[in-house]
């Protein structure tokens, strides 16, 4: 109970969402504790991505709230890893990583400093000038995760990060997220129906019948 009252807990209260006339969430309450590695699982179309989007502030609930420290979460406070490790092909890798900093108002000097540190941590210094279509799938995964933590967020959201990946690659991504989680104060929330992800999570939430169990 003491942990539930932590400042950076994500508190979901009375969450209700209807999507295409289907009730996705019906008056759901849930708390994601600070520095938790939470796996959200459930069948396809049950609302895993919708929940992540609502946590990131990209979609609004029909009613209820998702708050962190009593306030709604803004996109700049989260790092989002998208399914398929999506990158903007018109920009080089360095600009792709910098994007969250650009949009969230980080100064150029600060951005370059962060880029330098992150590229060394993730071992992508030699591909910074490349275009996304010039790098490997593994490198793209690391670039996307580097981009997600660029703004030093409190939460990392990963939507089906192992989807369409072979087992080796899926394991590599999950390991990377786990190492990141271990070495920082980040809260990591991933949605996946992949059993492999279960072994990495510290907690598993199942979405079923409009509830988060």
């Amino acid at each position: 109970m003491e942990k539930n009252s932590s400042k950076n807990d994500i508190v979901i209260t009375g969450l209700r969402k209807i999507y295409n006339n289907k009730i996705i969430f019906k008056n759901t309450n849930y708390i994601i504790n600070e520095h938790e590695f939470l796996l959200i699982t459930g069948e396809s179309g049950v609302g895993k991505t919708t929940l992540l989007n609502m946590i990131a502030g990209l979609e609004k609930p029909d009613s209820g709230s998702i708050l962190m420290g009593g306030k709604p979460i803004k996109p700049c406070e989260t790092g989002y890893v998208f399914q398929g490790f999506y990158l903007d092909n018109s920009l080089d890798i360095s600009k792709n990583i910098e994007l969250p900093g650009i949009f969230c108002g980080a100064k150029k000097n600060e951005r370059l400093k962060r880029l330098d540190i992150l590229s060394r941590i993730f071992g992508i210094t030699d591909i910074l000038d490349n275009k996304p279509n010039e790098i490997s799938g593994g490198q793209a995964e690391r670039v996307c995760i580097a981009r997600a933590i660029f703004n030093n967020p409190k939460i990392i959201l990963a939507d089906e990060p192992t989807n369409n990946l072979d087992r080796a690659n899926a394991e590599r991504v999950l390991k990377l997220l786990k190492i990141l989680w271990e070495k920082t104060e980040l809260t990591v929330v991933i949605s996946s129906h992949d059993d492999l992800a279960k072994s990495y999570a510290t907690k598993i939430a199942i979405i079923k019948g409009g509830e988060i169990l």
């Binding site: 979609e59 996109p75 920009l91 994007l99 969250p100 969230c104 108002g105």
Partner: protein, 395 residues
């Protein structure tokens, strides 16, 4: 997000999708370069015509307007026409030079005999009874200003004299008919009675049949504006000199270009808008990405405004260069030929000049290009929302 970052990202979009950007710029550019080409040539053509027309009037555009046809009893009063002329002079910063007066006199016995002879020889020839004498208040003949110069003619040229060589004597006889300014007949009935005639027609033995006020414009643009305004009304207006056909040609070319040009501009704008909308729609996933990692709608709008305005500017540069260079090329090759054709057609000295120029409608073309860009941005504004963001990211 800083403005400079939006511009940087927008420019990167243009340069990184070189092929796509180039194709869009060429598609739009080719359409507009045709418009620039024709407008630049049209402006040059207009300048050539109007500058040439000034040769006959000593550097001033002289236009006569209105009519006071006493034969048909259409004229209310000469003073009323003068009043109107003063108003026009004020409005268009012109000088009211007085009136052109046309008198008619009976032909001499010798002339009547020739007329009758022609009527006997040619069935469709109607013998003329009068010589018409035109008195100009002030004109330039071969660069020399002459007051109250006048010309005489025996009405229309019969159609049969248009066969050169066949009726040389008739050609000679009527050669002055359409060259009112370039000739001053040595002796006319009017001149003979000049001392006894007050030159206002009313007290003259010659019968005054026609009065037209004359305005002189130092500024050719004012002359054109006056001509265009009055030409569209029922008022009869014409330039003095051998340039009536030139003004008429200009009117035809202008009408043709403004009709065809307007249709072409509308088609070009529609194609341009659809081309750019397609580009923005192809960026739907990137827009969703930006929004999901913290970009506000205004940030995304800034990036894509730069992108589209950049493409518009590239299309503009392409159009101006392609259209302008083509116009210069065309002009260099054809200017002398066109001047010769026009000189022969209009029987006036049309100088050989570069057939390119500036016309205000060029600004309209520039506006049309940027209007298309802005329209495209407005029509794709819903892309800035977070609607279907997951679906768009998975595309």
């Amino acid at each position: 997000m800083m403005l400079i970052d939006a511009i940087t990202l927008g420019v990167k979009k243009i340069t990184s999708h070189k092929k796509r950007s180039l194709m869009s710029v060429i598609t739009v550019g080719v359409l507009f370069s045709l418009l620039f080409f024709s407008t630049i040539l049209y402006a040059g053509f207009k300048n050539l015509l109007f500058e040439s027309s000034l040769g006959a009037t000593g550097g001033e555009a002289i236009l006569a307007f209105g009519q006071c046809d006493f034969n048909e009893d259409k004229c209310s009063s000469v003073s009323e026409m003068r009043e109107q002329a003063e108003l026009y002079a004020k409005k268009y910063q012109a000088d009211f030079k007085g009136e052109i007066k046309i008198y008619k006199t009976q032909l001499t016995d010798d002339e009547k005999a020739i007329q009758n002879a022609m009527a006997n020889q040619y069935q469709d020839y109607h013998p003329q009874e009068y010589r018409y004498i035109t008195v100009f208040p002030e004109i330039f003949i071969d660069g020399i200003k002459k007051k109250n110069a006048h010309s005489a003619s025996i009405e229309e040229i019969p159609s049969f004299i248009k066969n050169p060589g066949e009726f040389n004597f008739l050609e000679l006889m009527f050669s002055n008919v359409n060259k009112q300014i370039s000739i001053v007949p040595p002796e006319t009935d009017l001149q003979k009675q000049k001392s006894a005639c007050a030159m206002d027609g009313d007290s003259c033995n010659n019968e005054l049949v026609f009065v037209r006020p004359v305005l002189s414009f130092k500024n050719i643009d004012n002359a054109i504006a006056f001509y265009e305004e009055n030409n569209s009304a029922e008022t009869i207006i014409e330039p003095i000199g051998n340039v009536i056909s030139i003004y008429n040609s200009y009117g035809i070319v202008k009408k043709l270009l403004s009709t065809v040009g307007t249709i072409l501009v509308i088609i070009s704008v529609v194609i341009m808008v659809f081309t750019f909308i397609k580009l923005i729609n192809e960026e739907s996933s990137n827009i969703a990405l930006y929004r999901s990692i913290g970009a506000k709608p205004r940030d995304v709008f800034g990036i894509f405004s730069t992108y589209i305005i950049g493409l518009c500017s590239s299309a503009l540069v392409f159009s101006v260069l392609a259209g302008g260079i083509s116009a210069i090329f065309y002009s260099t090759i054809n200017a002398s030929k066109i001047s010769d054709i026009l000189s022969q057609t209009y029987m006036t000295d049309i100088q050989t000049g570069i057939l390119i120029g500036f016309d205000p409608s060029l600004i309209f073309l520039v506006v049309a290009i940027y209007f298309s860009g802005v329209t495209c941005l407005i029509l794709t504004i819903d892309q800035l929302s977070l609607k279907n963001i997951s679906k768009r990211l998975k595309q």
